[in-house]
Symmetry: C2
DNA sequence: TTGTATGCGTTATCAC
DNA sequence: GTGATAACGCATACAA
């Protein structure tokens, strides 16, 4: 199906025997224009079902009023919430969103970024794929003069705007909370260590142990356990150790925490009395498992809004202020049943 | 921050002392061109960090290779899955997605649609907001010669492409299953009856009762109970009836089903022995509640792919074939613990 | 207040 | 095979 021929400002101009520039002025309500002719123009515009061609307008103005977004997966709670937040804040400013998903593939991520550059988006917001690799495509964005904002999973070596969670701090709080609840052998399920966020979550874990003078037990630290299945597998191995853990910090996600919980239930191990569990992300389901799962809320929608705000603020700046600002959002530890074994409140 | 001046085909042409048109031909690998100059052009293009300006290209070509999407909420499982499906299928064809959310508001929906029309998207994919109202903005889309595809929540009076679930059929199956399990007084939580999908779910419910010669009991049909909270409220009222239901079909969503389950648990009513519960959508959490919740899977990702496929198929058609095709995807009843009270398998 | 002319970066149609 | 040129639809500097 071909697009029909649509009315242009020239069509309106011709019909009214005036110049196209006047039509343009009227439509944008810019410059001086006779009120009557303005009304006339507006009415014939609707009559001809005129729709501005944003493509042409943007080309002329040299900006697209579009923000490009690249995330590993659109249909993951955290990301779709961030996107929803960005959408809400930027919609008010008349900006549109072009969304791509990298599917955790580095190659697809590069392709996405390149199409967005070609699209002349004004800003690219990205959370990098787990696959990692080199980040010259992001340098490309910067070189193209497009504002680049990284969030959550960032390539830290790049000097760009960043919106992050204070991951290490909250991870430390989580583990400290477990220690305070009397857990002695706390295991860690860690994520791909090529991503900063997972390094930080581990650092928080290690710090908490250190501050509380607890030993670091290597056999309790499991690499790459960041899906429900991997979390389950890791848990089976851990619980079958001669000296098993009495708590597990599933730092990768609530999904792996769920895997932990299911394995524990299947093995007849009581949560939280025999095993404490803490996840990460505050997925909706953590509230309704039995027991409910202690987790960490990342304020994802708010994060999206912050990203948009940051962009609009930067945009208003003088050209000179190219400071690589980093905004850090403090996540919140949500204490629930899965780690509450003392009777007094966990607060 | 202003965008930097970017290299154009003229910059390449000037540098090589050739015509811009040759550069264009080389870059698009179209028409006849000397292989050597082609390579020369390509290499200087990368050297100058040339990026095609898709805006200009699209303007010239009169198409945008962009699909616009309007959904009530981006961060709702069903919708983000559909979007993910569309994204995957359309990305391969070199199409981009522009996404808007209506937040269930009719006014915002109209605004979204209008910006997409202005953006000159090639196709608009929409699931209308619950608020309803008149659909002249969708007629606008058609009049603008833009392909319109409605999915799930559709304005049925409009002759457009549609991708739907076979809602009535599966709803009937769900209720029949409950009857087969021995439930005698099955309540219905219904959604806004200005949306077809909710009308159909109700129709399926009524049909199942009729086919099984069971009476329709008006006090067991509750209007507008489509959030967790509303579902909970409705359930409290239902269970406090002199003659309460022994099963509830939360036809609106799994969230309302969850509300039902929570109220039942709080009241000490056993599920499924004293109360059967069936939800709708197969949200991830339905699998992990205790008991797990019987629900209906809508194949949302597949739905997204079907939408994209439908568009590309139609696009290849002759102009004439403006038949309003409707694709119906059969959803699947997922029988879980919350309705399984006979010992033999629910199959 | 209004009109004229030009350019945004491409692609397509001609000539050569 | 290559180059000049027009056109896509709009916005703006300038002239009237």
């Amino acid at each position: 199906m071909k697009q029909k021929k649509r009315a242009t400002i020239y069509d309106i101009a011709k019909k009214l025997n005036i110049a196209a520039s006047s039509v343009s002025r009227a439509l944008n309500n810019i410059g001086n224009i006779n009120e009557e002719t303005r009304k006339l123009i507006l009415s014939t515009a609707t009559e001809l079902k005129y729709k501005r061609n944003t493509l042409a307008s943007n080309l002329r103005k040299g900006q697209s009023k579009t923000i490009g977004i690249v995330v590993p997966r659109i249909n993951q709670n955290f990301f779709s919430n961030v996107i929803a937040g960005i959408e809400e804040a930027s919609y008010q400013k008349g900006y549109n969103l072009v969304i791509c998903q990298s599917n955790e593939s580095h190659v697809k991520e590069i392709q996405c970024v390149n199409t967005l550059i070609n699209q002349h988006v004004d800003c690219i917001v990205i959370s990098v794929s787990a696959e990692g690799g080199d980040y010259s495509h992001l340098q490309n964005v910067i070189d193209s003069g497009i504002q680049l904002i990284q969030f959550d999973r960032v390539a830290s070596e790049l000097k760009t705007l960043k919106v992050l969670n204070d991951t290490e701090q909250v991870s430390m709080e989580a583990v400290s909370h477990m220690i305070e609840q009397g857990y002695k052998r706390i295991a860690l399920l860690e994520g791909p260590q090529n991503l900063d966020i997972f390094i930080q979550r581990k650092a928080g874990y290690l710090n908490a142990l250190k501050k509380n003078n607890m030993p670091i037990i290597n056999e309790l630290v499991v690499e790459n356990a960041w899906t429900k299945e991997l979390g389950a597998t890791a848990t089976r191995a851990l619980l079958n150790l001669p000296n098993p853990p009495d708590a597990i910090f599933a730092s990768t996600s609530d999904f792996s925490a769920l895997g932990v919980l299911e394995v524990a239930s299947a093995m007849g191990i009581k949560v939280p009395s025999e095993l404490g569990i803490c996840g990460y992300s505050n997925e909706a389901f953590t509230e309704i498992t039995s027991p409910s799962i202690t987790t960490i809320d990342q304020f994802s929608i708010y994060m999206g809004k912050s990203i948009a705000d940051l962009y609009f603020r930067e945009m208003d700046q003088e050209e000179s202020s190219r400071t690589p600002i980093t905004i850090s959002i403090k996540p919140e530890l949500i204490i629930r049943a899965s780690t509450s074994r003392k009777t007094q409140s966990g607060k």
